[in-house]
């Protein structure tokens, strides 16, 4: 099977059903590929080879008996290194979190129940507090499209492993864009669900009020399959929603005819020329498919970024203060300093940020009163070089268009919509109403089916 490494979850499940392929065969091939390619990419921080092969044999038997446990039976999945899995270490990309958990995170338990085979843990920006994926404690995690560029973060390993064909599905987390930033920078699909739709028990927190766990994949359909498997109430997460969840992919294939889509002005929100051109072309594609696109004005982005960073820094500082007091040298410079900022902000400022959150959420909901979904670039520019020092720019630029949906909690998905002159992926972001992941997926799937961006592969993958 020459292209086995690029088969998605839906296609794997189909071939398993037809007995054209077996989970053991797939897991062996991916483990071999990880062993061969990952030393140059740095996506994985822990490979659970033995357990994965055992689980694949179990899946194979279940499929042979005609009793698959769920839609992910035998499908390999990688976990961001801040989700607990009972048989793997959790480090959260740091030197200060080091635990061998006895219990699975809520999401991991759902994955196992659906039959997934957990291949291992993938790397991340230290403690999820950063957007580059450059981590001083681990070997470099590299963007497969250009290894001198950052992969984006914080779910860097998840995006790199997908783009490089090391795994068909991965779990990421997103507090200020940490699923969508690396997904866009690496040319894959990432869905930040509605706040509360996916439980967070057993996940090392960055910001309790802004953290989201979500699916990452190489296609919209696969992201929807993974989303459906992990959605649902988590009794150990106080902010988990107690509601029935529709399958995220229930409207895939319905097309966009009849939908009214709000479009942001790419230049006005700071996109560079190449990103703006790709975005404008994606609007033309959706219009040709029958969507009505209408201009909408974004609520002010700077206060949203300010509020999101303030809340993140303060909650992260609260969680890590003791470790910061006892072991400051064990934090990377950028994370140590950002945590210190969180300890230095006045209480009134933090309350102002929480008030701004309410204002911003109401503003985005008003925009969605008039449209079915909102379209905008995911990142205003493509992946920057590893040697660029990230301070306000380009760091804030990468946060600017993604944080609105952390602060508001609305669902938002990124998928590839083009490449720049350097061959780097550009992402299209689709955001929707609360718990309406299905419309977000519907729009993204229609666009994906009409274009071929998602089929491109990074160079130099022997």
């Amino acid at each position: 099977m020459s292209d086995l490494e690029h088969l998605g979850a839906a296609e794997l499940a189909r071939r398993y059903r037809e007995r054209a392929l077996s989970p053991v065969e797939v897991v062996r091939a991916l483990l071999e590929r990880i062993g061969r390619l990952d030393p140059g990419l740095g996506a994985f921080v822990h490979v659970a080879a033995e357990r994965a092969l055992d689980d694949a044999r179990h899946s194979e038997a279940a499929i042979a008996a005609g009793r698959p446990r769920g839609p992910l039976e035998g499908v390999p999945v990688a976990l961001k290194d801040l989700l607990d899995a009972a048989d793997m270490p959790t480090a959260a990309g740091s030197r200060v979190i080091g635990r061998l958990p006895e219990r699975d995170a809520g999401v991991v338990a759902k994955l196992r129940a659906a039959g997934a085979v957990l291949l291992g843990k993938v790397g991340m920006h230290e403690l999820a507090f950063g957007i580059t994926g450059v981590n001083p404690h681990f070997p470099p995690c590299r963007n497969p499209w250009d290894r001198e560029r950052v992969p984006g973060g914080s779910s860097s390993g998840s995006a790199v492993a997908l783009a490089a064909g090391l795994v068909p599905l991965a779990i990421g987390t997103d507090t200020g864009g940490s699923i969508r930033i690396p997904a866009s920078a690496c040319g894959v699909v990432g869905l930040k669900p509605t706040f509360g739709a996916v439980g967070r028990s057993g996940v090392v927190p960055l910001s309790w009020s802004l953290d989201h766990v979500g699916p990452m994949a190489r296609s919209v359909e696969d992201a929807a399959i993974l989303m459906t498997a992990i959605a649902g109430h988590d009794r150990d997460d106080a902010w988990s929603a107690e509601r029935a969840h529709e399958p995220a992919g229930r409207s895939i294939g319905a097309g966009v005819r009849g939908l009214r889509l709000g479009r942001l002005d790419a230049a006005a929100v700071g996109a560079d020329d190449q990103v703006a051109a790709a975005f404008e072309e994606s609007l033309r594609v959706l219009a040709r498919l029958g969507a009505e696109t209408v201009a909408v004005a974004a609520p002010a982005l700077e206060p949203i970024y300010t509020a999101n960073f303030t809340l993140t820094a303060c909650e992260a500082a609260s969680f890590h203060r003791r470790r910061l007091a006892e072991r400051p040298a064990d934090f990377g410079d950028d994370v140590r300093r950002n945590l210190a900022v969180g300890l230095l902000l006045p209480a009134a400022g933090v309350i102002a940020a929480r008030r701004a959150q309410g204002v911003a959420t109401a503003a985005w909901l008003r925009v969605l009163d008039d449209v079915d979904a909102i379209l905008m670039p995911t990142l205003p520019r493509t992946a920057f070089r590893r040697d660029v020092r990230v301070s306000r720019e380009p760091g804030e630029a990468w946060n600017r268009l993604v944080t609105p949906f952390n602060l508001s909690g609305l669902p938002a998905l990124t998928l590839p919509c083009g490449f720049d002159r350097d061959g780097l992926p550009i992402g299209l972001q689709v955001a929707g109403r609360p718990f309406d992941e299905a419309t977000v997926v519907r729009v993204a799937a229609a666009y994906e089916a009409a274009t071929e961006w998602g089929a491109r592969r990074p160079p130099s993958q022997a």
Binding site: F195, G196, W208, D333, R336, N338, V341, P346, G358, P434
Partner: protein, 65 residues
């Protein structure tokens, strides 16, 4: 948050020490510009808030409480 004094390195180190965190002076110097900028932004954010805007209800829980 009507008036926020501009932070300085000694004040930063002292405020952190009160919370049990002892950073190197170089850290405080490095974070000072970002902190000062964030404080200015927060002051602007607060000034632009409608008077009657309450905090996000339920903290993080947005749509289901």
């Amino acid at each position: 948050m009507t008036r926020i004094p501009e932070p300085d390195v000694d004040a930063i180190l002292a405020r952190l020490a009160e919370q049990g965190v002892r950073l190197e002076r170089a850290d405080a110097e490095a974070l000072l510009p970002a902190l000062a900028s964030l404080l200015r932004r927060l002051a602007r954010l607060e000034a632009e808030l409608p008077d009657d805007a309450p905090p996000q209800p339920g903290g993080g829980a947005r749509f289901h409480r």
